[in-house]
């Protein structure tokens, strides 16, 4: 717990910054339709951002890439999704697979 005051500074700053980030778009652009060219990008933001989150949360280990138990979890999650499992089941299957892979490794 050597970082307690740094943690509180981080929490305060991130609480404010996150609120500002989330408010910026709605305050600046609320209620008005976006130009069609912008809308065309916006509809594709979800797959781009979510795919980036999937691979970084699975393979990033600090500044390097690693294949570890999270990859086993992701494969199991993919299988569960393919079998149309509900989201809580998907994440539990992923956790079980990752825990198993870690125990074996």
């Amino acid at each position: 717990m050597a970082h307690v005051s740094a943690a509180w500074i981080t929490i305060g700053a991130l609480a404010v910054a996150t609120a500002v980030i989330k408010a910026a778009g709605p305050v600046a652009l609320g209620g008005r339709p976006l130009p069609p060219r912008v809308t065309a990008v916006v509809v594709l933001l979800a797959p781009a951002i979510l795919a980036a989150l999937v691979v970084t949360e699975t393979f990033a280990s600090g500044r390097s890439l690693a294949i570890d138990e999270r990859a086993a979890g992701l494969i199991a999650a993919a299988a569960a999704i393919w079998l149309r499992a509900s989201l809580p089941v998907v994440v539990i299957v992923a956790a079980a697979a990752a825990a198993g892979a870690r125990a074996i490794a």
Binding site: A7, L14, I21, G30, T58, G73
Partner: protein
């Protein structure tokens, strides 16, 4: 995830119902955050962070920086970069919001990944009630999970032994599969993943996710 049919407009209650599975996942995610964060920042700070930051990736990312001995400035930058995607999501969501700037600013706070994806109606339209309701289902779940993780962290030990570090990727994959329904969206997803992976070794955490938005720009302009 078309929980509500087009016959009647969605209510906030519909959103809460649709958000319950995400809430169940959020308990587990929050639990893993509580376990990871408590030894780094102490129990109170972990709980306060979940209450006031309420953004999983940024909370994990900035906590990892603190745990590695990085200072507050580095932790804050990591958290901001990991949350910068909400800027793009807010721009996308903005046309679906009405009322004055203050009200829009407040409603914008409800944007989290799962709710935003769930409320996405396609064509740049978002269902405000679905988004609000889904977040109302996830917020208390995230707090509950964090408190449980803080309380039982010692008994849980290393969260990786329970596979808790695999929950986040699985959560995002489930959201992604639901969004990548057209060939163009799937191509953009592959492009975004490739950009992010390529940048991980050379850019601070969070930046690869922002850069992946380039795939959406290219995908939008690509003629088929």
């Amino acid at each position: 995830m078309s929980v509500v049919t087009a016959e009647r407009p969605a209510t906030i209650r519909d959103g809460i119902r649709a958000g319950l599975p995400f809430g169940a996942a959020a308990v587990l995610l929050g639990l893993s955050f509580g376990v990871v964060a408590r030894p780094v920042m102490g129990p109170e700070a972990a709980i306060v962070m979940s209450a006031f930051v309420f953004a999983g990736a940024a909370q994990f990312g900035s906590t990892a920086v603190l745990a590695a001995g990085g200072g507050a400035a580095a932790a804050i930058i990591a958290g901001i970069l990991l949350n910068a995607r909400f800027l793009a999501m807010g721009v996308a969501y903005a046309p679906s919001l009405f009322g004055g700037p203050l009200r829009r600013a407040l409603e914008g706070q409800a944007v989290v990944d799962a709710s935003w994806a769930l409320a996405n109606r396609g064509g740049g339209r978002f269902d405000r009630n679905l988004l609000l309701g889904a977040t109302l289902a996830q917020y208390p779940a995230w707090q509950l999970g964090t408190v449980l993780g803080v309380l039982f962290g010692n008994a849980i030990g290393d969260p990786r032994d329970l596979g808790l570090n695999a929950i986040f990727p699985a959560f995002f994959l489930a959201l992604l599969v639901d969004e990548a329904r057209t060939p163009r969206a799937r191509a953009v997803a592959l492009g975004g993943a490739a950009i992010a992976l390529a940048l991980v070794p050379v850019a601070p955490a969070g930046l690869p996710i922002i850069a992946a938005c380039l795939a959406a720009v290219v995908g939008a302009w690509w003629r088929t």
